[in-house]
């Protein structure tokens, strides 16, 4: 009785903090190799580069915890970024932003509906919507880049509060909000319960389908938010924007220890996962290693993070 308890405590500790340990080890190693790495400018740089993927990854964390997957968020970033730029011809940037957040929520409802009510496996359902949304992006933009010039809007992606860039503040605020929702609200608790055991949750009186849809809504809204930051940062959007971002977002969540089979995860650790991914790119750039090698290394990091987890789970 006490034995499994004790060993679970140890593996639980390692499981919870292994991402943090890996993160710290990597920082130390890289900082020895590149003196510029720990400079204020570079740290700020890493955080800012993480902000778009990081925000998207908050949503991905909820979807994966609830037992789903969402690969449409990269396309959704492109659509919402294009729309928040395009709509500014008709309205102020603020209502435009609210509109695209609603668009994100609407596609979240669609994704959730397709998986929970129509029972399409989540990856396939969002593969379908991913393709549809990308098509809509092309139709909306006519295939050309869109540009915007608004000082107020530019602040979201480029402004500073004191010495800190605004996108970083936004990222940290949304991570805090996401973590709060996950651990302190009924929605967060139900997400874990459904991802952990859908049937037990149903028999406990949880409206399973509704809450699955809500996790996808969270994913859609966060993708839209990352689209807003993206558009504001570049002040332009091409129809190809955000391709492959969904994979980095999912990678951040799973590197951060979100269980691929659902039920477990933390938004805080997802943030660390996102920072880790960016840091690898950053460090490789500083050291001057080829971009192609970076892909290989990033892939290995993802496999190592998930492999460690899956292997020990299968053994126990």
């Amino acid at each position: 009785m006490s034995n499994p308890g004790a060993s679970s405590k140890i593996t639980g500790f390692l499981g919870k903090y292994k991402i943090l340990i890996a993160f710290l080890v990597l920082i130390i190693v890289i900082s020895f190799m590149t003196p510029n790495f720990l400079s204020w400018r570079n740290i700020i740089n890493v955080f800012r580069q993480s902000s778009i993927i990081g925000i998207m990854a908050i949503g991905a964390t909820f979807v994966i915890i609830g037992g789903g997957f969402d690969i449409s968020v990269g396309s959704l970033l492109a659509l919402t970024a294009a729309m928040v730029v395009g709509l500014q011809s008709y309205m102020h940037w603020f209502p435009a932003m609210l509109v695209v957040l609603l668009v994100g929520a609407a596609f979240g409802v669609a994704n959730g509906f397709l998986t929970s009510k129509i029972h399409i496996p989540p990856i396939i359902a969002t593969l379908g919507t991913m393709t549809i949304i990308r098509g809509i992006v092309y139709m909306y933009t006519g295939g050309y880049p869109l540009y915007v010039d608004s000082e107020g809007f530019a602040f979201i992606g480029n402004g500073y509060v004191g010495p800190v860039p605004f996108p970083i503040i936004l990222l940290l605020a949304l991570v805090a909000l996401g973590q709060f929702i996950l651990v302190r609200t009924k929605f967060g608790r139900y997400s874990c319960a459904i991802g952990g055991n859908k049937e037990a949750a149903r028999l406990s009186g949880v409206k399973v389908d509704f809450y699955i849809i809500m996790t996808f809504v969270m994913g859609g809204v966060m993708a839209a938010m990352s689209g807003v930051v993206y558009a504001s940062r570049l002040l332009s959007v091409t129809p190809l924007a955000g391709q492959g971002y969904e994979l980095d977002a999912i990678a951040s969540a799973v590197i951060g220890g979100t269980s691929v089979s659902g039920g477990e995860g933390s938004v805080l650790r997802t943030l660390i996962g996102a920072l880790l991914l960016t840091m690898i790119t950053n460090a490789f750039n500083l050291i001057g290693i080829d971009l192609y090698v970076q892909y290989v290394f990033k892939g290995l990091v993802i496999l190592a993070a998930v492999g460690f987890d899956s292997f020990y789970k299968a053994r126990s």
């Binding site: 308890g5 609200t185 874990c192 319960a193 406990s204 039920g263």
Partner: protein
């Protein structure tokens, strides 16, 4: 020995098998022989050790002590795969075929015939046809499994066993989901197998089958072998007595808290949910523990699920405190004051990844919100601590993941989570399955306490003894209907007889061939 070729040579000799699990001695010093070409029945109540014994034979469990001589050689199989290769196969109750493959592909799965490293369809078809001819099977080889009926699927499993030249086939309740005609066909095949000197260990609850097709009978009780008998020289009466053993005297007779003069908490009228619930009506009164027992597959679990709204009824009516209710989902049932402790706590009762207190508060989480959807974890913690203590749940802390708890403590977490919703009626389906003796008696205690404080409990179990121990009144289900009602203090064998089926004429010796 009437008919058959069963000689006296033994194919399997089991000597002094013992096996214990934490808190339970599942097998105690069991010895038995299986002869070449005999059909040998293995009988016993639930929990008597039948499945542990078969698992020890094929190596799914490793016995603590004892030896086995198989085909003249002392053998210990390390896994069912190894024993299968050596000629002992098991046909489980659950089907173990791959639905999207064809009959032939399933038969040769894991043992495909090759030529030049590629699958040889021709060779396999040849061998398949030979197999069919030898044992009189007639199954279309290219049919996919999902297109077959349950009975045909059973035959495919038998064919698969025979294709490896099995000498012993263990069948675990093979007729459980078969119609009468399908069962007859199976019996014919079994007789053919016996003619071909294949031995069959036949596990069942249904005594009629035992007298129809078996040559000898071994009876287990509480992990010990009681006796081995020649089928032709015994009768149902004797077998039931041997299975039940000493009649359980209700030593812990407790006073009843049931108020039969009041309106029933729940009434079911002619409830139907095919195939397992055919026509069930019952009333449960305030403060009553109503026991329901019956064989596996007699409709108990399905009844529980229907009364909880986990499945919709096809016809009939359900009343809660006199008001008619439509139970379309568990949400409706919970609102009506009904709670279900499901048969399989790991897959249906708990979210094993979640901490203990989060499981406890899951159904009643609405009571711990401050503001819209916002949880007060502190209040959750305090409340679940209260139930944690009251039910004597042993866990390292309330923050421990539920998967690390023992079976008994996990079950108490399930009970706690439903008590928190303050239900009028608690349905418990096989609530003591797979938990140790101490936790069992604690759960009996909890059930009686609940009754004392005015709750009603529907206590469903296939163990007659425990139903007798906690219930004020007992209903017996068979084939989806209620076939008997008993008061407390009824003799165990009387109830067991009802579960087994019909009136049992004594000294029934006719053996149908």
């Amino acid at each position: 020995m009437p008919g058959g070729k069963s000689g006296t040579r033994n194919i399997i000799e089991i000597r002094n098998f013992s096996k214990s699990f934490p808190g339970v001695q599942a097998l105690k010093d069991v010895s038995m022989d299986i002869r070449v070409g005999e059909v040998h029945a293995l009988l016993g109540e639930n929990g008597s050790g039948k499945s542990t014994l078969t698992k020890c034979i094929v190596g799914a469990y490793h016995r603590d002590s004892g030896t086995m001589i198989y085909d003249g050689v002392e053998s210990s199989f390390l896994s069912p795969a190894e024993s299968f290769k050596n000629g002992i196969s098991v046909i489980y109750q659950e089907r173990s075929l791959i639905p999207k493959l064809t009959v032939e592909q399933n038969v040769f799965l894991g043992d495909e015939l090759l030529s030049a490293g590629l699958l040889s369809g021709k060779q396999m078809r040849k061998r398949y046809t030979a197999l069919c001819e030898k044992f009189g099977f007639d199954l279309p080889p290219d049919e996919k499994i999902y297109g077959l009926g349950v009975a045909q699927q059973k035959l495919v499993e038998i064919m698969k066993a025979l294709s490896r030249n099995s000498k012993v086939v263990i069948m675990d309740e093979p007729t459980a989901s078969l119609s009468k005609q399908e069962a007859d066909h199976l019996f014919k095949i079994i007789r053919d197998l016996r003619e071909k000197e294949i031995s069959i260990l036949y596990i069942t609850h249904i005594l009629e089958e035992v007298f129809r097709i078996t040559d000898r009978i071994t009876i287990l009780r509480d992990g010990r072998k009681v006796s081995t008998l020649d089928t032709a020289q015994t009768g149902k009466e004797e077998i039931v007595n041997l299975m039940v053993g000493e009649v359980f005297h209700d030593a812990e007779y407790i006073s009843s808290y049931a108020s039969y003069d009041r309106q029933p908490v729940l009434s079911a009228k002619n409830v139907v949910k095919l195939p397992r619930v055919r026509d069930i009506s019952l009333d449960i009164y305030p403060g009553e523990v109503l026991g329901i027992t019956g064989l596996t597959g007699s409709g108990k679990t399905e009844l529980a699920r229907v009364l909880f709204g986990a499945e919709k009824i096809e016809s009939g009516e359900i009343f809660v405190e006199g008001r008619r209710v439509d139970l379309n989902s568990p949400v409706d049932a919970i609102r009506a004051g009904i709670a279900l402790i499901p048969e399989d706590r790991k897959s249906d009762g708990l979210v094993l990844l979640l901490e203990v207190f989060k499981n406890i508060t899951l159904p009643a989480i609405g009571e711990f919100t401050v503001g819209p959807g916002l949880l007060s974890v502190r209040r959750e913690y305090v409340k679940s601590q209260e139930y944690h203590k009251r039910l004597n749940i042993r866990s390292a802390s309330m923050n421990q993941q539920t998967k690390y708890l023992s079976g008994g403590n996990q079950q108490k977490v399930v009970i706690a989570k439903w008590l928190l919703t303050n239900p009028k009626l608690l349905i418990m389906d096989e609530a003591t399955q797979g938990i140790d003796v101490k936790a069992k008696s604690e759960i009996y205690g909890i059930v009686r306490e609940l009754a004392e404080s005015g709750f009603s409990v529907l206590f469903i179990s296939s163990e007659v003894q425990e139903v007798l121990r906690v219930s004020d009144r007992i209903l017996v289900t068979r084939d989806g209907e209620i076939v008997g009602e008993f008061g407390r203090g009824t003799r165990q064998d009387e109830i067991l007889r009802t579960t087994l089926g019909g009136k049992i004429e004594s000294s029934n010796r006719q053996v149908v061939r």
